[in-house]
Amino acid sequence: MGSRASTLLREEEIEEIKKETGFSHSQITRLYSRFTSLDKGENGTLSREDFQRIPELAINPLGDRIINAFFPEGEDQVNFRGFMRTLAHFRPIEDNEKNKDPIASEPLNSRSNKLLFAFRLYDLDRDDKISRDELLQVLRMMVGVNISDEQLGSIADRTIQEADQNGDNSISFNEFIKVGNVYILYIDIDIDI
């Protein structure tokens, strides 16, 4: 109990996180208790092993990619601020935020930021395009081991062909979010926290 005191969340921190991510007070405290329950080492940061201990992530086909999304470039530990910053992408868009001052910087959970987050999970090398290989890797993760490489290859080819409009044989962000001129991703990338 004693060593825990230093990791308790201070009010100013809560306010800062609230401003940065838009979460409410109760949401932040709830997520903080989740953070601490995952933090087995009790050092105020989470490592990859801490995430891998979550059972739902262990059986999730995209588990590794999701875990990686929490860790900024090259680092192995993530603190609570970073944790919240990543989770902020999934907060539902509130009504009152829609009329926000357009000059202010775009909130983390705007629709395009959400889609960009999803896009980056495909595009590991951050070259702003999903190449055939990256697509193949994701397909392999989702489909399992029983399907042969050629079959997956033809699916990947067909996917790229459907979406690709400028002929570079890969999917850019704009091509990702729509096929032809029709926006395809109607699913809301929100969860109720």
Partner: protein, 698 residues
């Protein structure tokens, strides 16, 4: 001078239709009063032949009684369908007036005709309605229910269906009772329970009417599934309330225990209905696992199990509609993994056909029954009923949405609320329930009149004006999207992502439970219900396979790709078992052709310069080779290579038709190929080989 020269083309057909109507109108009463001719009874005539003097052998005799019942039924159905045909021949009419209105008007005319002649017009028999006319419509709706939007909004739908209907029933019943207390109305004999009974009959949104009207306005998926789901799920509430108030109005008093039992009854009725439906659904799925040798009767299993589910739950006074929906929803994924492509098409078209016929008959009979039915008109009561219907619906929707929006991620906008409120149509179920009231209710006639007025008002006024209102308010329409592999992959990707993030947050939400259900389904349920090795197939692969198959069939039918030997359809198996080398090669060829066609469609070149793919079917080693041909002479300077692509391409939908323009260039060649394609793609009933492979639907 031809007698039938007409100003516009559909005129002649309309005249024919009108003549037929008159004929029917006259024919029916005539046969009713015709003397009964001698029907079967060969023994009788044999005996009389022995005792009586020999008569001349009757060469031609009329024996109408023998065939009377089926003849009448067939004639009615034929009349209904001819009417439907007639409407669509008149171009402007079907765009302005929804079909349901026209059919009711026809019913009114026919009923009037029959009455004028002096006969009793037939009334919509409740048993006929509930046992024969309603099930096909509900099964069609349930089998093709879009699962994803339904499950995402099931909470909202349930709130509207249960609480909304309860609110409507009590609000209307209560206020009408208050109205009846007023002396000047002259209805002081009506007690509270009768009013509540009436309220419960009239309060439920009707699936048939909603389907009929909403089908034509193509509203966005969310609103459509909300209104439609509500109309399906409120059946349980209606059943319970109706039975409850009917019982009580006989007894006259209500105790707290009765109310409590009513609530329990509601849960029993709804959950019991769903359970019965699910059981029959699993039975159907299990049966379809073994039908690989008897493909012809596969559709019958689907229909019969569903109908049995409906009848079984009606037998126990459970909700038949919910049983049908549950049965359709449960059995669909497994059945479609097992049945052949032809069975799938058969099921789809039979369901559409039956539900269309049923819907037409229901509306016509509504019209006829209006003319026939006993009426008791009371201006105040009827007008108040109509107004209260609207008011209670609007209040209910607004109030419930206010509460629901606190729990929804995607909130319902005011426009959505308006359409949901305005789309609450009443229909034939209300009429049939009213008709079922025993004659001991002194207010029965008044209730029936009021119900019919409400139905007419909602179907005519709301049905006709909803389309211009949707345009006026610029409500979001249904997105026109072809099934695309991109959407499928990304949707599944996002599902996994959101499930994972929910796991990180420690939050057991929507995605978590969906994932658990999927996992359970994959490990335990699928291996029992899906034939062969298919149960291991991931959904993405199945989706891709059926998409390619659909495209191949579409190309064959439009003549672009002559069908190869039928057995190559089998190469669509993307399954874990070893595939012989030859068919793999063929697989690659076909896939290359399909891809080339896709690329072909993306080009924005004029159609007569497109490249025509020809498959040489009869090559020596019975292995199809691919040639690329151009319809025009090869020296054309503007010959197009396959790799060339234009950045802006029109939507996929239009493109499939694009290369058709080649037909005129290569007419003879195309004809040959089309003939070949047609006969190869549709082998006779003996060629069961191609049906061996399961097909999944989209």
């Amino acid at each position: 001078m031809p007698a039938f020269s007409c100003a516009f083309p559909g005129c002649r057909r309309d005249l024919l239709v009108i003549v037929l109507v008159v004929f029917v109108g006259i024919g029916l009463p005539i046969e009713a009063s015709a003397p009964a001719y001698q029907s079967h009874g060969t023994e009788g005539s044999h005996l009389t032949n022995i005792t009586n003097t020999k008569k001349a052998f009757p060469v031609l005799a009329v024996n109408y009684e023998h065939v009377r019942k089926p003849f009448e039924i067939a004639l009615w159905i034929l009349l209904a369908l001819l009417m439907k045909l007639g409407f669509h021949l008149i171009p402007r009419l079907s765009a302005v007036v929804p079909e349901s209105c026209l059919l009711i008007v026809v019913g009114l005319l026919v009923g009037g005709l029959i009455k004028v002649i002096g006969e009793e017009p037939p009334v919509l028999d409740s048993q006929l309605f509930f046992l024969c006319l309603l099930p096909p419509i509900i099964l069609d709706a349930g089998y093709f229910l879009p699962i994803r939007p339904f499950t995402e909004n099931v909470g909202t739908i349930l709130v509207f269906a249960v609480i909304g209907t309860l609110w409507n029933a009590f609000f209307m019943g209560g206020l009408l009772y208050a109205l009846c207390q007023i002396e000047s109305v002259g209805l002081s004999g009506v007690d509270l329970l009768a009013c509540l009974l009436f309220g419960s009959i009239v309060s439920a949104v009707d699936p048939v009417a909603v389907l009929a009207v909403f089908e034509e306005i193509h509203i966005n998926e969310l609103v459509h599934i909300l209104v439609f789901g509500e109309s399906l799920l409120n059946d349980a509430v209606t059943v319970v309330l109706y039975n409850l108030f009917e019982e009580f109005s006989k007894v006259g008093t209500v105790t707290v225990l009765d109310v409590f039992l009513g609530v329990v009854c509601f849960f029993v009725v709804s959950l019991g209905g769903v359970l019965v439906g699910a059981i029959y659904g699993f039975l159907a799925a299990f049966t379809s696992r073994f039908t690989s040798h008897t493909r012809v009767i596969e559709p019958l299993f689907v229909f019969l199990y569903s109908y049995m589910a409906y009848l079984s739950s009606e037998m126990f006074h459970l909700s038949g509609i919910m049983a049908l929906i549950a049965c359709g929803v449960v059995m669909r994924p497994y059945v479609e993994a097992n049945i052949s492509h032809k069975s799938y098409t058969t099921i789809k078209y039979f369901l559409k056909m039956w539900s269309s016929v049923s819907e037409t008959l229901i509306f016509i009979f509504l019209g006829v029954s209006t003319v026939a039915g006993p009426h008791a008109w009371n201006w105040t009561f009827v007008i108040t009923t109509v107004i209260l219907c609207l008011v209670s619906r609007v209040l209910g929707v607004i109030g419930l949405t206010f509460i629901i929006n606190k729990f929804r991620i995607v909130k319902l906008t005011k426009k959505d609320q308006f359409i949901v409120a305005y789309g609450g149509l009443r229909g034939a179920i209300a009429f049939s329930l009213g008709y079922l009231l025993s004659n001991s209710h002194q207010m029965r006639n008044l209730f029936l009149t009021a119900i019919i007025t409400v139905i007419f008002f909602t179907v005519f006024v709301q049905g006709m004006t909803i389309r211009p209102l949707v345009e006026l308010l610029a409500v979001k329409k249904k997105k026109e999207s072809k099934p695309s592999i991109n959407e499928e992959i990304h949707t599944e990707f996002l599902d996994h992502l959101l499930t994972g993030v929910e796991g990180v947050c420690g939050h057991y939400g929507h995605y978590h439970w969906k994932e658990k259900l999927n996992r359970f389904n994959k490990t335990y349920v699928k291996r029992w219900l899906i034939a062969g090795e298919n149960f291991k197939e991931p959904e993405l692969i199945a989706f891709y396979r059926k998409m390619e198959l659909k495209q191949a069939i579409m190309m064959v039918e439009s003549g672009q790709l002559p069908s190869v030997l039928p057995s190559t359809i089998s190469m669509q198996n993307i399954q874990p078992r070893a595939i012989p080398r030859v068919s793999k090669k063929r697989e690659e060829e076909i896939r290359r052709i399909l891809r080339a066609n896709l690329q072909n469609n993306k080009q924005k070149v004029s159609s007569n310069k497109g490249i025509w793919l020809k498959l040489n079917v009869f090559s020596a080693d019975s292995f199809p080779t691919v040639h690329f041909e151009q319809p025009s002479p090869p020296s054309t300077p503007d010959a197009v290579s396959l790799e060339e692509e234009v950045p802006k391409r029109p939507s996929l939908k239009a493109d499939i038709e694009g290369p058709r323009g080649n037909a005129s260039d290569n007419h003879q060649g195309e004809l040959d190929y089309q003939r070949l394609a047609r006969c190869l793609s549709d082998p006779g009933p003996n060629k069961d080989k191609e049906d061996d492979d399961p097909f999944m639907s989209c």
